[in-house]
Symmetry: C2
Subunit: 553 residues, 2 copies
């Protein structure tokens, strides 16, 4: 209709792998009505976010327009697609639609935040579609590394949009629906394909999930002691493969780790897995001989409190590893986690435990489409427009280059880039402010608030606290300092604290009344002296906190 | 001779890749005389060592026996073999032997610390050997990713020891000496081989340095805008290959970054490189058109202040990149550096700059021996004993397994493990305490001193400073707090600082005299209240500093 437009606006996931949140809107400019696809998180690290618990996209823009948000769709139950739902729902309050397993996981998260779970409506797969304003949205089964992953087929007045979600082309995924080439090939004509870019730089053919089992089985069979295998708990197909390999090798299977148990139970309850091998809870396995036991453990990414890391540090829930045991990492180490995983693997080595990972045997496959799969997806769907998402900027750019080379009008749209999909080519129509929110303890703080920056400064520079007492005659008494995270002794070979107190005391003795009586001036001078003296003594300029107490008559 | 023994004792580099320091000793137990091989550093990270500048092995054990240390040998000029020499020499003060290029680099480091450089003696390669006590030590050319790398051939009363240093088998290394199979095959009989384990898990054949150039040339030739290439400055062979590709493509070459210039100059001055293409300093290149320029930049590992990172953030020394330019990473990202390198690569992508790395083209080869090379080394040298070094525990263990499978008596000897090489099999005779020293600003601190641990705590938990004034009557005046790195507002929707001051004030009002008058008790209580109140308000338990001022009549 005249004046209306179809727009796409990523808030998270276009410029990073993680925290996926994508808006689609239809209507006249500034009057569009929206649907939101996915509400995901990404994870902190010591480099940029020490002490932070979770990271979400900053949803301010859509929260301020929540009256025009008609629905939220969740494509699958990975944390980077559903992890933010309980934390941010309050500011959006639109009905949530997902298929049954995904809804189960989403509901557990909502319940943790005090919601009833009724906010979520279970919908079945295509050809069923939900009518939401001008959109008709269907969840179309697609293969990925978690059961019941879905692409979205969004019918709009401007034509059909296919939002791939996370996917790979796998016709034998073990669990979950196989990729249906015919179904995807029949979707056309498709106006726009919004497509997963994660593995665009992987040039080799993707490998099916079903190739993993045959490589796992002999490893488990030949192992002599206790066997521990770790993978993503959400990859229930892989967990089942590992469990089956254990059973086939005559071992009882134990699920170790809360998320491992939760995921398998959720899969069984919702029926996405029906033939999971029998397994025991940790407390039931005490009497089983070690060589007849296989533990499926959480923590393939080196998470400090997960089962694998715990086992690498000693006893955990009654289990401990020793020489001759085997640990299988049926996973790939996500960039950023190498140090944590490396520490764990070397701990195991020091115990005499053999570690087998995907460099030594083909025991892991990716859940994302490699370049050949992406090119095939383009050919199947034949969109007029391609908008790469789910990737770092470099991945989006490479994916757009591939699209253009294949004759598809493509655009690089990082977070905050509003793209109109109405024309023959995608058109950037607006840039909106985006950012990140941190869950820091119990509070959501803005990434740019300065709170985490201050913590990073203390980590790098250490801290000096200065206490000063000014009496009723504006005379300063002896100052005193406390050091935190700083070397005790420096170049003078005298305690740094003493040197600082000496310098500060001399300054206060000489300072004129104007400086002493002015909190800000005084603080500034004291800070300067501390930093310069510390630089001279120990080669560091610490953070400084100055407490000035003034006595009144 | 009766009672004497030949021992090996790693202080650093056996249990990590980095900070190499290895002792060899001969004599009666507790009277051995030693030589030290290499004095290297490793690098900090935000995870475990925020704010730290460099990391060395703790040399206390050998420093306490420095009167029995006869010599220090440096195998090659990589930082993890020579970087600690200026920092730790003072406690050892034994003559340093190295070949000429390595000596040049070592001398520059010593001069930075106020030494004259006379502590270093330049020695020629095998067959020349230095007599040091019971040892005769020769530096034998071996191929690696820096010119003039050497293995050590150490003749002892118990037989010949070959210390591989860092190596690969490369007969066409471009610069530096090719691997001489015949020479290594003629070394026997060899009692013990102490051998680089870095790439033991790489199963494929190693590739020669000479394979890189042909893949670089077309990339540079086809580039249209400015070309930047980055690699390790110390890999002068690669730097020369890149420079030559630039010249062949009609571009002027600029070396950008201090270490790049230093290394090339050192190579030219010592004669290890004789035909380096002409190059310009940054300030001389201002008038050259961008498409006729190639910049060789430092910072292939994402180092924040190096040239590549600077260029990714904007203008640097007059150069800036833009759409259509090309950046070539002729390197591999060392585990731990992925986040830094990723940030840089994505910055370039946002500028429209094309990045080419070793995943997209074979433009980098490792400097370390892969598994097939290691097995060949074992076959050439035919040692009676194998002691893997230069690797994480897991690598040492795998390497020892390979040794045993090849009929060589092998041992896993992590840092601190003293091994006797006198018998037919290696025998662990003692464990000595080892650890790490941190260079923190200008001061060397022990890794376990708690200083860095306190900084990590502030990074994770934030900090509250509490000021309390107790008057002459032991009455507490209103307390006040300062927050650092903490959310301002918590569950009560009142400023956290106010809530804390309120709670503390109430406590002080109720507290009995015994508590008020006792500094330790009072501090403990105030700390407890701050942490519990903060946990309740913002879900974090901060670090707490309490300053108590007592007024006397």
């Amino acid at each position: 209709m005249a004046g209306e437009r179809l727009v796409y606006l990523p808030l998270g996931g276009a410029g990073e792998v993680g925290m996926n949140m994508y808006l689609y809107g239809y209507g006249k400019p500034n009057k569009e009505r929206f649907i939101l696809v996915d509400m995901g998180v990404t994870f902190p690290d010591m480099d940029g976010t020490p002490g932070v618990d979770l990271i979400f996209p900053d949803i301010e823009w859509i929260a301020a327009r929540a009256d025009r948000l008609d629905a939220i769709f969740i494509t699958h139950a990975h944390e980077d697609h559903v992890g933010a739902v309980g934390h941010l729902y309050d500011r959006l309050r639109a009905p949530i639609y997902a298929r049954k397993f995904t809804s189960h996981i989403a509901r557990l998260k909502m319940e943790e935040h005090g919601y009833s779970g009724e906010e979520i409506e279970v919908v079945g797969p295509m050809p069923h579609q939900v009518q939401v304003g001008a959109f008709k949205v269907g969840l179309m089964p697609i293969s990925h590394s978690i059961p019941e992953s879905s692409a979205l087929v969004i019918d709009t007045p401007e034509g059909r949009v296919v939002h791939s979600g996370d996917f790979k082309i796998d016709e034998t995924p073990g669990l979950g629906e196989p990729f249906d080439r015919e179904a995807f090939g029949s979707l056309g004509p498709v106006k726009a394909l919004i497509c997963d870019s994660t593995n665009v730089f992987s040039r080799h053919e993707g490998r099916s999930e079903s190739t993993v089992g045959p490589n796992i089985v002999p490893i488990v069979r030949e192992a002599e002691g206790l066997v521990v295998a770790t993978t993503f708990a959400s990859n229930i197909a892989r967990v089942r493969t590992l469990a089956q390999a254990g059973v086939d090798a005559g071992r009882s299977v134990v699920l170790l780790g809360r998320s491992m148990q939760k995921m398998v139970r959720a899969g069984l309850e919702t029926g996405v897995v029906t033939d999971f091998p029998p397994y025991l809870a940790p407390e039931e396995a005490g009497d089983i001989p070690r060589q007849n036991l296989m533990i499926l453990a959480t923590g393939s990414q080196g998470e400090r409190r997960a089962a694998t890391a715990q086992l690498s540090r000693g006893k955990f829930l009654g289990f401990s590893l020793k020489e001759g045991d085997t640990v299988i990492f049926s996973s790939k180490t996500i960039p950023g986690n190498e140090t944590s995983v490396g520490q764990i693997v070397n701990n195991f080595s020091e115990m005499g435990v053999d570690v087998i990972d995907d460099k030594m045997a083909d025991i892991h496959v990716s859940g994302h489409a490699n370049r050949p799969d992406l090119e095939e997806m383009h050919r199947l769907v034949k969109p007029q427009i391609l908008v790469p998402n789910h990737g770092e900027h470099r991945m989006l750019r490479e994916h757009a280059t591939i699209g253009e080379a294949g004759g598809i009008a493509s655009v690089v749209a990082p977070n905050g880039t509003m793209v109109s999909l109405s024309g023959n080519r995608p058109e950037v129509v607006e840039f909106i402010e985006t950012g990140r929110l941190y869950l820091d303890g119990a509070v959501q703080i803005g990434a740019l608030d300065g709170i985490v920056r201050d913590r990073i400064r203390m980590a790098l520079n250490g801290q000096v606290v200065v206490g000063v007492l000014i009496d009723e005659d504006d005379e300063a008494l002896e100052p005193w300092v406390e050091l935190r995270g700083l070397a005790e002794m420096g170049r003078s070979k005298a305690p740094l604290a003493d040197v600082l107190e000496e310098e500060l005391g001399q300054f206060l003795g000489r300072a004129n009344g104007a400086t002493i009586s002015d909190d800000d001036k005084l603080e500034e001078q004291l800070r300067r002296i501390v930093r310069n003296t510390s630089q001279s003594e120990i080669g560091k300029k610490p953070e400084v906190v100055v407490l000035i107490s003034r006595l009144t008559a």
